[in-house]
């Protein structure tokens, strides 16, 4: 992957324990620049990583759900999720994803 092109990064650390999270936060807080670490408890928030392929899958799923009768709150979340998926596809550099977004916008 070209690090010159990709200027913004995430780090995925599967199975990071509570103790090590605290250690990591302490460590990166000492580094220069304001990294602003935030810890998420996976038992209170469901954290997911996704790529363009998953976004396209979600678009198909939410598109299918949109034709059914939904509670107002669910409809609201659906619209928000569709928007979020499209925004993510726009931000992804994936070529197929970009084509799909172009189709959706036309």
């Amino acid at each position: 992957m070209d690090k010159a092109v990709e200027d913004s990064w995430l780090v995925d650390i599967p199975g990071l324990s509570y103790q090590d999270t605290a250690r990591l936060i302490e460590e990166v807080s000492r580094w220069p620049g304001k990294l602003g670490p935030i810890a998420w408890d996976p038992r209170l928030s469901l954290i997911e990583l996704f790529d363009a392929r998953h976004c396209r899958f979600l678009l198909r799923v939410y598109d299918a759900a949109a034709v059914t009768w939904l509670l107002p709150g669910d409809r609201c979340l659906l619209e928000f999720a569709l928007e979020a998926c499209r925004a993510c596809l726009l931000s992804f550099s994936d070529e197929v994803g970009s084509r799909r977004v172009a189709l959706l916008r036309s």
Binding site: M1, R23, W31, D63, G73, L77
Partner: protein, 343 residues
């Protein structure tokens, strides 16, 4: 535990990977141009589960997508079960008392590991091929026959689920779908369209547009704009054309002469509760008043208005027809009595 930082540069990401690598973790740096991260609370996850169920119910997903949706739903439900607050408190208690009761604490912590990642299924392979999906439409289906149908589907074996959808669903072909998008767009351009009706028009425009894109339906502008209204929509997981035909034959034997199969890829379905119909009346009326519709579109809009109004009248808690008939009967009675009195 998951930790997030502000978007970080490549060098910082590599530094973190190196640091936690020394602690025994297999970390990886992911470019945000290819990867996104989301965090959902319990309520949002519950709603997502309902959306996944609705997507399955719509019958518009390919088999591969259906499998992925079921897998996704299982993961989400499992996370919801494990993160039920007494479970979380139990885990926290075990973590605090792990010095006193190490074996018990270790067992609890093992059972309450964070939910597995749901990303793995999306990495490889092309997008799934979209198979035709079949439904059966049955007007006036009796509740007792739903149970009979369920027994028939159970006899097919496997873990297949019968779903019976709202009789108010309407199905339109691609031409009809294009027409609805056009009417919604014209109506939205009218300033007087109310807030909710405007939202409804926006949603029609969006949904119908997505359906047209998803099915790859082509419209030559000469279609009939067919619309199918009413009837219970029966869906079974992975229903093939042959099975759908078999179900229709069976339903005809049971007395449902109007039962028919329907390819969910060729027919756009719309669920319309009474409020949705009322908004559609307003949308059609506004589009007609705007004068921007072609003569054909205007004719269809007028026909729709008549249909919607008839449907709304039939669905009132009191029947307008009964009241009118009663009024006429009373009027006739009064006229007769007066005629008799005159004699």
């Amino acid at each position: 535990m998951v930790m997030t930082l502000n978007p970080i540069d490549f060098d910082t990401a590599q530094r973190i990977v190196g640091l936690v690598g020394a602690w025994g973790y297999q970390a990886r740096a992911l470019a945000t141009t290819r990867w996104g991260m989301s965090s959902d609370d319990r309520e949002t996850v519950r709603r997502r589960v309902r959306l996944l169920s609705a997507a399955l119910r719509s019958g518009r997903l390919s088999r591969a997508d259906q499998q992925s949706v079921r897998a996704d739903r299982t993961v989400l439900r499992s996370w919801l079960r494990r993160t039920w607050w007494p479970q979380v408190r139990y885990y926290q208690l075990a973590t605090r008392l792990d010095v006193l009761f190490p074996e018990w604490a270790e067992r609890v912590q093992r059972e309450h590991r964070p939910a597995p990642e749901v990303e793995a299924a999306w990495f490889e392979g092309p997008d799934p091929v979209i198979d035709p999906l079949w439904r059966v439409i049955v007007p006036e289906l009796r509740a007792s026959d739903v149970a009979r149908l369920q027994r028939v589907v159970d006899a097919w074996g496997g873990d297949r689920e019968l779903m019976v959808d709202d009789p108010h669903d309407r199905f339109g072909d691609a031409q009809r779908c294009v027409y609805e998008v056009r009417v919604a767009r014209v109506a939205r351009s009218c300033r007087r369209l109310g807030g909710r009706a405007s939202l409804r028009a926006e949603s029609v425009e969006e949904d119908a547009g997505l359906w047209l894109l998803g099915t790859g339906a082509t419209v030559d502008g000469r279609g009939e704009g067919r619309l199918m209204v009413g009837g219970y929509s029966i869906e079974v997981d992975d229903l093939t054309a042959e099975e759908a035909g078999g179900l229709v034959e069976l339903l005809k034997e049971w007395g449902y002469r109007q039962a028919r199969t329907l390819n969910a890829r060729a027919w756009w379905s719309q669920s319309l509760p009474p409020d949705g119909v009322r908004h559609n009346v307003r949308i059609a009326r506004m589009a007609l008043r705007s004068g921007l519709l072609t003569p054909d579109e205007a004719a269809m809009a007028r026909q729709d208005l008549r249909r919607y109004r008839a449907w709304l009248l039939r669905r009132r808690w009191w029947s307008v027809g009964q009241v009118m008939r009663g009024s006429f009967a009373r009027l006739r009675g009064i006229v007769r009595r007066e005629a008799v009195d005159d004699r």
